[in-house]
Amino acid sequence: MKRIITISLSFFLALSFISCNRQVQRIDTDTTTDISGRWNDTDARITAQELISEAMSQPWLERHVSDTGKKPVVICGLVENKSHEHIEAETFVKELEKAFIKSGRVRVVQGGNMREQIRRERADQQNNSSVETMKKWGLEVGADYMLQGVINSIVDAEGRNKVVYYQIDMELTNMETNELVWIGDKKIKKYIKN
């Protein structure tokens, strides 16, 4: 009897292992993973690293501080993806904004839909918050520079071989004078063999 129970139990155990084909493994976010050859998290990460090191080391920052005596204020504008793949620039633009804030040398202001939400909340405060705690209108910090960018790609394919080239260009423009003060770029080239 015991033998039958042991055999049946082991059978069900084996069956349960067979049925779980999917394996999930947690890996470090800094690990380089290339599965399909398309744009992935590794590309976004190395783009962010390159742009941060370029933006923080260029003379625009020192020049602004020496001219005005204040820290520059940056707002994130539009990024146009003109490549052949869907690429969300927010993945590396946010990293750049984070680096600006963490360095303490550049101030960043909110833009887009999030700013709209903040303004709506401020409008709501005018009716519902106490007079002491409600926030005033017209005290937002105006940006000195706008961050904009373009993503381009070139694909060359023959048979099972393919070369994909990405170029990410980010620019900082002075809001008042329209002067380009910084251009950072990251180029990525991949050779894919199917």
Binding site: N81, H84, N113, V155, K162, N194
Partner: protein, 112 residues
Amino acid sequence: MKKIIAIILGLFLFSFYMTGQEETPNPNAQKSHEKYEKQLDSHEQNMGSTIQNTYEARDPWQEKKDARIDRKEDRRDFRRQLRLERARRPILIPQRRRFFNDPWRQPYPYVW
């Protein structure tokens, strides 16, 4: 007296120098300001976002592979549709003969 005149002259020259440093705004700037003020709503939507103006890259090998997958899916869909139609209208679309030797196990309607 000379000292006072020198100070006044110095201040005058300094103020002249300072005004020379400032840029003169364009007198037509108001027109441009009015034009862009009308577009504020659309501007808000694009801020901090990515516009996807992607293009389709030519990769013959990938296209061939995709076409093969598409054909396979089409065939599967067709077979599925045929099965459904047979179930719905058994008389009009004859069944395939599967049991050749057993007349009792023929699908309805009997087709020989």
